[in-house]
Structures are given as C-alpha cells and as structure tokens.
C-alpha cells in the first residue's frame, strides 16, 4: 500500500474514533463543569443506549418500517429521549441527595451506579454479545497514487452527526436563555440561585443533555461496529473521560478537540508504531500534556484564590 494512502487512511480512522470519544466526552465535561463531579456511570449510559438502539431497530422492523432514513431518525430520537430520561432519573436518585456533601460521595455513588447499570442490563438482556445487522453499506474511495484510501458511509455519518451535534450544543449553550442559565450556574451556583435561576433544574438538564449526547454516540457506534455487550461501556468511557481531561475538563470545544486528538494519537501510534502499546501511548500523552498544561488543552487555568 502506498504509504501516503496508509497515513490518510489512519487519519480517517482516527477522526472517526475521535468523534465518538468527543461525543461521549461531552457528558463528562458538562457534568464536571457544572457540579465538579466525575460521572463514572456515563460510559454505562452509553452502553444502555447501544441496547436501546438495537431494541428500536428491532421494534421498527417488526412494525414494518423499512425506509432507512426514517428508521435511523426515529431510532436516534427515541434512543436520545430514553437515555435522557435515564440521565435525569440517575441524577435525581443517586446524585441530588449528595449535592451538599463531600465531593467524593457522588464519585462513589457513581461507581455504584455503574455496577448497577451493567448488572441490570446483564440480568435482563443476557451476557451474550448483541448486535444489529449492517444497515449502511459502501464507501467513498479516494485514489492516491496507485492506491486508495476510503471512508465508509457510516464513518461519514459519525463525523457529520458528531459535528452537527457539537455545533447545535454550542449554539444552545452560547446563544439561548437555557444556555445562559447553564453557564451562570456553572460559574456560581449560589449566586445564580439568588438571581432566580432554578439551579436544580439546570443541573438536571445538563445530565439529560450529557446522556443524550452519549446516546448519539451509542447509536452511531452501534451502526458502525454492529455489536456490543453489557460491559462495553467501560473502556470507551475511560477513553472518553481521558479525552475530556486532555481537552480541558469543563470546556465544551475542549471535549471535542481532546476526543479527536486522542483518536488520532491512538490510530497513528497503532498504525505506525505498535498496537500493543497504543493505550500506554494514549495515557502517556495525557500525563505529558497534564504536566506541561495542567488544565488541559483548552481548559482555563485554575486561579488560586489567596
């Protein structure tokens, strides 16, 4: 294979993987930004959304709806909605009672929720790998020299939908009333409360948005890779969390950038150096960035108040 084609192909692979990391990283970064908590159960919400995707696809085909765009749209919408409800319920049940206690309590609660979600899905859906049939076939092939690199339609879908989702979310946060309330709550929860913002509701909203973005990733990944099981949220969750920190936790563009940087780094290192040490490189990169830029690529440096 032409070496240029290989590098271009690896960049495409990295971009796809990175977009997925970025989408999931949004959930971590928004929740962290607003209540300063690492939501360890987020990766498992992504896993739940993968199951919901397959359930919706199965239901829709059962009811005889087979127009692909309609199926995809309904699945995306339904999965986002239900995963959003999951996010809301988990926040309400497991995190809100801990709002004013130590900062480690919600972390442990989140680890507990992570166990619960995995086991709940395993007990109900079984431990076998589940999957969906391949829906999108084909790819765009770009010739390079006497070789080519390709980007499949589902990869295009992943990249486009992630970018659209990111754009939409950035618009909501920057330009709308809801977004302004979110930002205000993030800056100073007490003051926002005094100024009449229903902060509990805003925090719930953030959990719903984070879960819904995770659901987008769940739908896209399931469409692209086809299979999942009840423990598949774990590794991708840790990676997405790494991406969020790499980009600067609390920063929305940072999550996306961190995701893409991480995806690219993994892809290029795996492709050009060694797959065995891919994850060592990813975590090594994180540690290095943290040492030289302790608040991540786009994070605001923490101001020490004296």
């Amino acid at each position: 294979m032409d070496s240029l084609a290989i590098i271009l192909q690896q960049l495409v692979n990295g971009l796809t993987l990175g977009s997925v990391y970025g989408l999931i990283a949004i959930g971590y970064t928004m929740v962290y930004g607003i209540i300063g908590m690492i939501n360890f159960a987020h990766g498992d919400l992504y896993m739940v959304s993968a199951y919901l995707t397959a359930i919706f696809l199965a239901l829709l085909s059962f009811f005889g709806i087979d127009s692909l765009p309609v199926v995809l749209f309904l699945t995306l919408l339904g999965t986002m909605a239900i995963t959003g409800v999951y996010g809301w319920v988990i926040e309400r049940v497991a995190y809100r009672p801990l709002r004013n206690s130590t900062r480690l309590a919600p972390l442990i609660s989140a680890i507990g929720i992570s166990f619960v979600l995995q086991e709940y899905v395993r007990i109900n859906q079984g431990s076998n790998d589940q999957g969906i049939p391949a829906l999108l076939f084909g790819a765009v092939r770009v010739p390079v020299g006497n070789d080519f690199f390709q980007i499949t339609y589902s990869q295009i879908l992943i990249i486009v939908v992630s970018l659209l989702g990111m754009g939409l979310l950035t618009y909501v946060i920057q330009k709308t009333e809801l977004g302004r309330q979110c930002r205000a709550t993030q800056m100073d929860r007490k003051m926002s409360g005094i100024l009449g913002i229903h902060t509990d509701r805003i925090i719930s909203t953030v959990f719903v948005i984070g879960a819904a973005m995770g659901a987008v990733a769940g739908v896209l990944v399931t469409l692209n890779y086809g299979s999942f099981n009840f423990s598949s949220g774990f590794i991708i969750g840790i990676k997405a969390f790494t991406a969020a920190v790499l980009g600067g936790i609390g920063s929305l563009p940072g999550a996306m950038l961190g995701g893409i940087v991480l995806g690219m780094a993994e892809s290029l290192f795996s492709g050009l150096v060694n797959t065995d040490y891919k994850d060592v490189f990813a975590f090594g990169l994180l540690v290095t960035v943290m040492i030289f830029k302790p608040s991540g690529l786009l994070g605001k440096p923490a101001v020490e108040k004296v």
Binding site: T16, S127, S227, I235
Partner: protein, 371 residues
C-alpha cells in the same frame, strides 16, 4: 454464617433438583466457570453440559452408588475470584471433584488450591499448556492444548493454503496470546515468518487502525488468537476496508455469538477455525445430543466437552471404587479408554488427552461445519 450455610444448602438442593426425591447418599461435584460477567455465555455451556451429564449418570446409578449433586461456582474469569471459589468448593462445600474452570487464567491459580485439598479437577475448556504442564497429579483436561491447536492451524496455513505472508493478532490474554504464540512457533518452524505480530485491547470495538496496518503488510492470511467479542468486529472491519485476506482463529469463536458480534453472516463467510472434531457427531453421544435438543438447547461450543468431563469424573471414581479425588486421579493415570459421549478417551501422565483431534472448520451462511 450459620444462616448462610442453610441458604447454600437450599441453593444446592434447588440446583440439584434434577435428582428430586432421592434419599440416597450424595456426592458433590463443583461446576466452576464464568456464570456471570462478560464470559457468562461460556459458563452456561459448561453448566448445561455438566447438569445433563449428572442427570444421565444419576439415572444410571450415580457414582459408586451415590447421587451427584452439582455445586455452581462463579469465577467471572477473574483469577482472584477463581481462588475464592476454589477454596469455597474444596473447603466449605466439600466437593470431591470439579468440572472447570473455563478461562485458563482462572484454572491455573485454582488448580493449586484443588491440588492442596486433594480435589479432582478436570477442565473442559482451558487450553493453555501451563494448566497441566506443572505436573499436578489431580489436574486433567478434557479438551486439547493450545500448542496442539497451534500446530494444526500453522500446518494448515503453510501446507494447505501455501500462504507466505501471515499476520498474527492476539487479544493479550492468557488464552488468546498462548494460542497465537503456538501458531507463530509452528509457522516459524516451517520456515514462514509472520509479517505482523500484535495484540489488540479486549473490550474495544474499533480496530480500524490495526486493519489498515494489516492491509499495508499485504498479508494473505490473518490469524487471530482470542474470543468472538473481538474477532467479530475485527473481521467485519477487515471486510469493510476491502481486505479479503483469509481469517483464521481458534476455538474461542465457537459460538453463534460470533456472527452477532460481526454484524451478520455475510461478514463471517469463509472464516476458518480450529476446533475438536465435531463434539456432537460421535455415535456414543447421540443420545445426549438428542436430549439437549429435546429441551430446546443447542449443545454448541463446550457443552459436550463439559458433558464428557463429568463422565470422566464418574468413570474415574467408579474405576477407583472410591470417591477420593486423588485415588480417582491415580486410577485415571493408570487406566485408559474411558467410554464417553465423545468417544474413547485416555489421559497421559500430565493429565492431557493422548489424542488431539483438532480439525479445521469453516463458517458458511452463519453456521460452522467441518472442512
């Protein structure tokens, strides 16, 4: 604690409801494996096979006149849990023999515990050579070894396929890497050097970067040592990137879940794998296979191995005329030709089967058949 023992006794009785109403003496036999956790699908195969065998043996009079009661031990394929389970079975439940474990990384530490306690252990599925190579007298294996499997795969690649460039991928786990190493050694011995030897991370789904790399090496054959959860997405992404190289793997993908994990039968078309000669095809096991199918269960993967392992336990104890694990082990080392549902079996001094029966299978239309 007193209460918990009561509950456990209750659980045992429920588990052993197959022997309902028997007032005879009982012999406890453990079935250890991943009954929960990511590999629970295999744990179920072990459990189904062992339960059916226990039922059939009990119907034929049990072991030395005692009825088999099964004890379920869940190790989640985690070494730490495997040791706990082993201690529990050996000490608290007082089992005479254990059928299990599934993962090699569980069988190895657990076998030490069984050895100390004088419990007879036979694994229906752990293929890593180390399980028996340490020379523990009470440890047996009812399946083949990775090195035997690797020889079959390696020779097939070189002699039958005449492939010159082979990429070897593994999942960095005891089973997967052991199998990949065995195949690699065979290939190297036959004068073929692999073009790529790398490990992917278990639990991940995106192997596109690795696939592109395989593509750049122009490999004709991709050999994968690992389980279906990773094999499925890997083969799918190979096909999606237009890589048509032949995909060969081992007994870790012997499950319909492989098709599901790959996203459809079209992706696994033509995939080859090594596995013991069809465990359901032996005339001696026809009855057992029929009773599985009658209960609506397809005896796939390790089900029949587990069934056979239980038969070996019974045969050894009946042969030794003792329910003592070590006496049964000594008898089994000394005597061969045990009649089982998978033909006549003999064990060598290490506890391995004397005859390895690995053959090549091919996936077609979402099912596998001997090639």
């Amino acid at each position: 604690m007193h209460k918990s023992i009561k509950i456990s006794a209750l659980a045992v009785v429920t588990a052993g409801s197959l022997i309902a109403g028997s007032a005879m003496a009982e012999i406890k036999i453990g079935v250890a494996g991943p009954h929960t956790g990511p590999y629970a699908a295999f744990g179920m195969q072990l459990w189904k096979g062992a339960s059916q065998a226990a039922k059939d043996i009990n119907a034929a009079g049990g072991i030395n006149g005692e009825m088999i009661v099964l004890v379920k031990g869940d190790d989640r394929c985690e070494p730490k849990e495997a040791v706990s389970v082993a201690n529990r079975m050996a000490d608290q439940d007082g089992v005479a023999a254990v059928v299990g474990h599934f993962c090699s990384s569980s069988s190895i530490p657990a076998s030490v515990v069984y050895d100390e306690a004088g419990v007879f252990m036979i694994t229906p599925a752990s293929t890593n050579p180390t399980v028996t190579d340490r020379g523990l007298p009470g440890v047996f294996r009812a399946c083949g070894r990775d090195d035997q499997q690797g020889i079959v795969a390696g020779e097939y690649i070189v002699n039958t396929l005449k492939a010159k460039s082979v990429a070897i991928i593994h999942d960095k786990d005891t089973y997967g890497q052991g199998l990949a190493d065995a195949t690699k050694n065979t290939l190297n011995g036959l004068g073929v050097t692999e073009v790529l030897y790398e490990g992917l991370t278990r639990g991940e789904k995106d192997f596109n970067a690795l696939v592109t790399k395989i593509k750049s090496t122009k490999a004709e054959v991709v050999y994968f040592g690992g389980l279906h959860s990773e094999a499925g997405p890997l083969v799918r992404q190979m096909r999606e990137q237009g890589l048509t190289a032949l995909f060969i793997s081992g007994d870790g993908i012997v499950s319909q879940d492989f098709v599901t994990a790959a996203g459809g039968a079209s992706f696994v078309e033509g995939v080859l794998m090594t596995f013991g000669a069809d465990p359901t095809s032996y005339p001696a096991g026809a009855e057992a296979v029929a009773s599985f199918k009658a209960s609506g269960y397809e005896p796939e993967g390790y089900t029949m191995y587990s069934y056979t392992a239980m038969q070996v336990v019974a045969a050894a104890m009946n042969g030794a005329k003792s329910n003592d694990g070590m006496k049964a082990a000594a008898w089994l080392h000394a005597n061969g030709n045990i009649a089982t549902a998978m033909g006549s079996k003999s064990f060598d001094s290490k506890g391995d089967l004397t005859v390895s029966d690995y053959v090549m299978y091919e996936w077609k239309d979402g099912n596998y058949a001997e090639k």
